[in-house]
């Protein structure tokens, strides 16, 4: 079947303004969108620029706005998109564009680092692994499957309006360590998220949950953080 792809183009060395270019290709319903982009780049237009790496929804490189929704190109099948009109592919919303579909993720990473995305344990090493019960592990089971693709933060209206908002990805990361029984930096972490630009900027809009390619219920974890903040003595 034939499908048309309307792709956002911007080359800072040539273009003053971004524009959309259409490519019509023969595709199968089960074709993955990333393969279509590769096909365009390799056989039709070598100037098309986009990020990709693993092609298995693990690296989080190919996050983009596809038909108005943030997704990973590598796990989007053509049959799941409306092919009756051109499929619109844009770089992730709200992030600055470097070229075509490649966005600048610096601010996103800065926020991820703000919440200290690593385990801190001041206790003397036990001489073996830090153990957890299955129940304790279950608390963070889903939260640590985040792949840092940035789809959630870019889909969040609170982030659109406020650049300083930590965003769903960073808050999810904060949850993952605050609720990790092996971590000892809980109070400091709670102070970081207890801010006007922290958990309280989340207005439970659920765009992050709809966008997350790993189907993480991010809003639920941000809500648990809110509850933890109001029930803790900070």
């Amino acid at each position: 079947m034939k499908a048309t792809f309307k792709i956002f183009r911007y080359d800072p060395d040539k273009d003053k303004k971004p524009y959309y270019k259409e490519y019509t290709l023969d595709v199968e319903p089960n074709t993955v969108l990333l393969d279509v982009l590769n096909d365009i780049k390799w056989h039709y237009d070598g100037t098309l620029t986009f990020r990709r790496s693993c092609a298995h929804a693990i690296c989080g490189s190919c996050g983009m706005t596809i038909n108005g929704k943030n997704r990973l190109a590598c796990q989007t099948l053509i049959k799941d998109l409306d092919t009756s009109k051109p499929i619109k592919i844009e770089p992730l919303k709200s992030y600055p564009v470097i070229k075509d579909l490649v966005v600048d993720m610096n601010k996103f990473y800065e926020k991820m680092f703000k919440v200290k995305p690593y385990l801190v344990n001041d206790n003397p090493p036990p001489g073996r692994e830090f153990l957890q019960t299955p129940e304790e592990q279950k608390l963070i089971d889903e939260a640590y499957s985040c792949i840092w693709c940035g789809c959630c933060t870019s889909s969040c209206p609170s982030f659109w309006a406020d650049d300083d908002y930590l965003g769903p990805a960073a808050l999810l990361k904060a949850y993952r360590f605050i609720f990790d029984t092996r971590d000892t930096l809980t109070e400091e972490r709670l102070r970081i998220v207890n801010d006007a630009d922290g958990v309280w900027r989340c207005h439970v809009i659920f765009n992050c949950v709809e966008a997350c390619p790993k189907e993480i219920n991010i809003t639920e974890y941000i809500s648990r953080l809110k509850l933890k903040v109001v029930t803790s003595k900070l």
Binding site: K69, Y109, I205, E220, S223
Partner: protein, 137 residues
């Protein structure tokens, strides 16, 4: 931690950030939130208007009667029916937000929104009819 950016790159980068991404896909949660915001602003406007009306009490009975006459016109009566709708939506969606935030209701946010919409329509239409009948008589 800040990552390196060359000055040339900083100049060339395209800032697409907008206050609201209108062309992003609308989900039920987005509708619930936008309606909550709009009804919130409407309530703030109403409260300011209400305070302005009530402050006429300090200016004596004549001034108060005059302003009450102005807000007693059919236009304001119809607006009151609108105000009832705004209150009902904001109150019930506010409860939905509380349930989501503090009672782990996020898994059922869509169903909760449909309940909010149902209660909003029933109470607004029902209350609106009673208010309209009261207005006619």
């Amino acid at each position: 931690m800040s990552l390196y950016m060359s000055p040339k790159y900083k100049e060339q980068v395209l800032d697409r950030k907008r206050w609201f991404e209108w062309d992003y896909k609308w989900f039920w949660g987005s509708f619930a939130w936008v309606l909550h915001r709009l009804s919130g602003w409407a309530l703030v406007f109403y409260l300011l208007l209400h305070i302005w009306v009530i402050h006429h009490l300090s200016r004596g009975p004549a001034a108060f009667d005059q302003v009450m006459q102005a807000v007693g016109t059919p236009l304001f009566k119809v607006l009151e029916i609108g105000l009832w709708g705004v209150i009902v939506y904001h109150a019930f969606n506010g409860m939905r937000v509380i349930i989501v935030d503090f009672w782990h209701g996020s898994k059922y946010q869509k169903q909760l929104f449909f309940i909010v919409l149902f209660l909003f329509v029933v109470l607004w239409v029902g209350g609106g009819i009673i208010m309209a009948l009261h207005m006619i008589h």
